[in-house]
Point group: C2
Chain length 708, copies 2
Amino acid sequence: MTSREIKYLFEPRGIAIVGASDKPGKIGGMILNNIRHSGYQGRIYPVNPAGGEIGGLPAYCDLVDIDGIIDVVIIAIPAKFVYQAVRQCAKKTVKFLSIISSGFSEIGNLAEEQKITGFAREHGMRVLGPNIFGHYSSAVSLNATFGPGDIKPGNVAIITQSGALGVAMIGKTAIQNIGLSAIISVGNKSDIDEADLLEYLIEHRDTRSILMYIEGVQHGERLVEMLKRATRIKPVVVIKSGRSKRGAIAAASHTGSLAGSDQIFDAIMQQCGVLRSESIQEALDWCKFLSTTPLPAGRNTVIITNGGGVGVLATDACEKYQVKLYEDKTHLKTVFGEVTHGFGSTKNPVDLTGEATTQEYITALTSALKDEHIHAVISLYCETARMTSDELTSMIRQVYSAYRQSGKPVIFSLFGGELAESAISRLSRENIPIFRDVYESVSPLGALFRHYTAVMTDSPPVKNAAIHYAEITRLIRTARAEQRSFLLAHEGQALLEAVGLPGPRSAVTKCIDEAVARAEEIGYPVVMKVVSRDILHKSDVGGVLLNLENGHEVADAYQAIIHNCKAHKRNAVIEGIEVVEQVKSGTEIIVGAKRDGSFGPVIMFGLGGIYVEVMQDVSFRALPLREIDVSLMVKEIRSYPLLLGVRGERRKDIEGIKDCINKVGSILLNCRDISDIEINPMIVYERDQGVKAVDVRVLLSEPERKKA
Amino acid sequence: MTSREIKYLFEPRGIAIVGASDKPGKIGGMILNNIRHSGYQGRIYPVNPAGGEIGGLPAYCDLVDIDGIIDVVIIAIPAKFVYQAVRQCAKKTVKFLSIISSGFSEIGNLAEEQKITGFAREHGMRVLGPNIFGHYSSAVSLNATFGPGDIKPGNVAIITQSGALGVAMIGKTAIQNIGLSAIISVGNKSDIDEADLLEYLIEHRDTRSILMYIEGVQHGERLVEMLKRATRIKPVVVIKSGRSKRGAIAAASHTGSLAGSDQIFDAIMQQCGVLRSESIQEALDWCKFLSTTPLPAGRNTVIITNGGGVGVLATDACEKYQVKLYEDKTHLKTVFGEVTHGFGSTKNPVDLTGEATTQEYITALTSALKDEHIHAVISLYCETARMTSDELTSMIRQVYSAYRQSGKPVIFSLFGGELAESAISRLSRENIPIFRDVYESVSPLGALFRHYTAVMTDSPPVKNAAIHYAEITRLIRTARAEQRSFLLAHEGQALLEAVGLPGPRSAVTKCIDEAVARAEEIGYPVVMKVVSRDILHKSDVGGVLLNLENGHEVADAYQAIIHNCKAHKRNAVIEGIEVVEQVKSGTEIIVGAKRDGSFGPVIMFGLGGIYVEVMQDVSFRALPLREIDVSLMVKEIRSYPLLLGVRGERRKDIEGIKDCINKVGSILLNCRDISDIEINPMIVYERDQGVKAVDVRVLLSEPERKKA
């Protein structure tokens, strides 16, 4: 579907409502009523078997009787009648079905939902829902929901997977003076999901920020792609519930969608430049601020306060929300020297003290506005007896208007009693960014700067890795031919070779003499391993022996391994014994990639052993990667200093690690047959000394023929 | 000072105001005015050189002219006149000085502040401030602040180090209907600090929760002791600003108090059972809720909701705020089976669905109230068209009153537009715990359960460790006699022996033959180390040699070490060469204790090497310790699984670790001469195999004679 087509969901020329009714309390009637009163100028067709007139409009007994263009059909009838209604829609050139009705996959009735969606798709129709409250679109003044009738048009678009929350959000935005460009309930997401809607919202000029409430992700790969596109252009804020383990279970039982790993979700959202919020109020605060505030020219932020205490709290909040405080003390003194009192401070926070007058506040804020080194301002006010509510209000109005014109972000925080409260409620109504609590006020500014980072970060995609795909294809073909869903150890080594990741030299041998000869070629010490598809945990049964120093030991080991494996499993087919170079020690890392059920192809990196298993110190990204993603993956693990070298050790070969991440990612992206690949351990040596993949585990996807 | 005496600060029989005035805008006048109008029944004496009448009361030219009892003198005159005024106070039997004036240590004028406080203490007077806005005490209806005149009496006590914030908090509590039992500005804390005030507030019946805003801690040891006492009786909430590095610097420049390590502060607050809040609004929410809600009978919490989405968000919030959700599905089905609709769920969250009526809500909440297995309830409501604001309001009133009577905690969250907003503002005024955002509502319940844990945790102090203090005293005396502020290596080993922590066997030798003889006794391999106070970093200069396997190697090493050290420092006095048992490898840990400038004696534990240095994976506690503190210290490090045994390793000797923590703590507590002690590394073997202290570093305190 192109954004050209999805446009008709948001800007339909005609709408039919199946289940329209005049009976009070009927969902279909509530929706019809909202459409009629929202100012929608297209054609409206109520459909009801009883016919007659509904809501003052002629009603149709059957959808097929309608003559004009119907871009959207809203279906608000009991679940069991929906399929029949959809069949009728197929007889007209309907583009979209908005299925309000509940009683499908959310209560386990997946079959019926799939039947309906399958039928619709076959007949060129796309399905929103089922189990939704409808959608609103400011572009054509269309309120096709059964929520509140009054929706203030504006610049924030909301996509929500929860219906009840969505309806409540409409109410919330109304009282908080947040205008909406759209709100769409996606419910069970049987067909249309967040990615489809983003196609439209990215291009939609009136949408200046996008809020998504997500419980579970199904087609993460496409969502990731769309989110990356979207955040280059406008801020996207996501609330994903089910972040806790217990919450994920609750989410699963609520919409039937698996929440997926929260750690992976979080990493991917950051990679996409998406702003993740915990609470709905915070998300709304961010969206409101971001939809009215232009991007700053830089990161230097100054706090101007009349109270030292709130200044300190704001400084803490700046660290929490990653707001960079401007530190040039000399310049700060030049700018603010004249307005700070004897007990005050020109250091950032700039403390005007409790003695500050309105005029001094204005002077300080104006100085910050004019100064080209200062890019954003946090203005704090602790209620004292110095100013009246009117003075405060008009001061903030005046300053805000100057800042708006200049395009420099400013945010206000008033802490206090009645005076502060009355100023906040007056100014909030004018959409001036003003908050009660210091942390609340710094939080949206932090969101702005993180969005700024996403927009400003211009990193090329990783370079194509030199990989012999033909060889990998051959390996996979062999495994498939043998009905295997994994590669054998020596195949894994061959794959590493094809990828250009130097593994230990090795050879599979079939007799003692051959083993000794190969060991001599490889060089001692060597490791020997059984090659057998019948033995999975080779080490546990004595199928792996280490530290073999000479030909005698190799010969003994050959016999011992055969003996151990036969003792473990009498009928085990042993294809040979692999003789492997024993690699010298270094720093162990893991690089793995898999096709995640929720998010598509993802890659993981961490230091090996304890660091992954006990400290869970790993980083994730969605594929494909940009160069900066690879750098950040390496840097963001807590144990990164070990790679830089601690306790007199030298820096490790970080370039080698990045190359490995790039290559593992490329394999998963380019070889659809591979579902999982994990190099563990990979030994990293000192800078320029390279890396050595000791072991690799490769799992194959379900063969294509088994699908569909 | 006993709590009997501090009582007169809160309940003075007579008050004098030095600097009282009728001139508008004068601080002294504002305070007098507040005192006069707050309903205070004691005697009020305005003092002003001009005499006459001030605020309708006879004014005294000089304090000494006053006849009646003066428990508190408020001083609100320029800094330079304060000392003289304090001298006058000494002529009367004044108990407390509340020095409002600024211009002391907060701007670097520490000397004047110390002179005043020193004089006051010498004359039996205690000082609140300077640099404060005063104090309020509901016990005698006394508003001796220059903040707002209207303070609602109630059950929350506030102690604040920031004046501007404190004044603003008075305003905030007024509009949020939070009654105060006291609010005290401590400012520069030249004398009276939080611990002194807690003496009164712990016993004060009308104070049901205590909020403290802290920027820096000076006498942490006493504060810790008082906080431990306080939290057994009533909840204490602390906001400590300067938690970020940048914030700590801002705090230091604001009040001149060093913020101390935030990690240590955080650990100690948790140990004391103190609830630490980030933002002021959150702290106020907690205090209001905690001052009106009794302790629960247990931890089982149930979420009742009409929206799945908010239910999932609340589940996430419960994990964040450590609220335990009741999980017995069978029992939940019995309790809620009848009220959940077809699409709903009796699992926790109990989802009544958007179809829920008022009556169903009441039934569900009443069922939860009656059930003895359910100890607390989170009631969520997403605004739908089902209920009117009146229905909602009266439903919540009815339910809340039933819950209050039963003593079972309940908290409400309404998410939505006008209906929700109007219900929230009506119910908030009645002090019903009701919030807009899901996270906001779960947060105070989490605070309640953490307070519950603090109250319910009954852990004995650690047992007295068997330590030969006489021997330690002897070691310290030797070091002192030699003007050393540290123990030499062999003294450290002797100390470990006195403590009963088995170290490696060792002997200091003076010649090669002696070294070989001792090595034979100890058993190979051995380590050899130079003993010299002139050489600090012994390893770096070749003063330590490892892995010596026989007599020849010992002899060679002896000569090599002497040679290396002389090469490094020609004149170094070498007292001997220590021959030490080379201990077998195991898991390395660090146990250290020190006298922290802010918090007094604290103890630290962590796994050694990388885990401490790179991963910063350590735990802290203030001394003395209870048994549970020791257990938690060991368990809360991230690398704890390594002690339990991973990858087939066996459990380590955790009892040995606990014993070591206990002993190191005991030394610091009992040997005032020791300022720092760190065992690093300590080798821990498998369970019942013990620990071995390899090295210990002991620093001595400044000798007592240098103090005072």
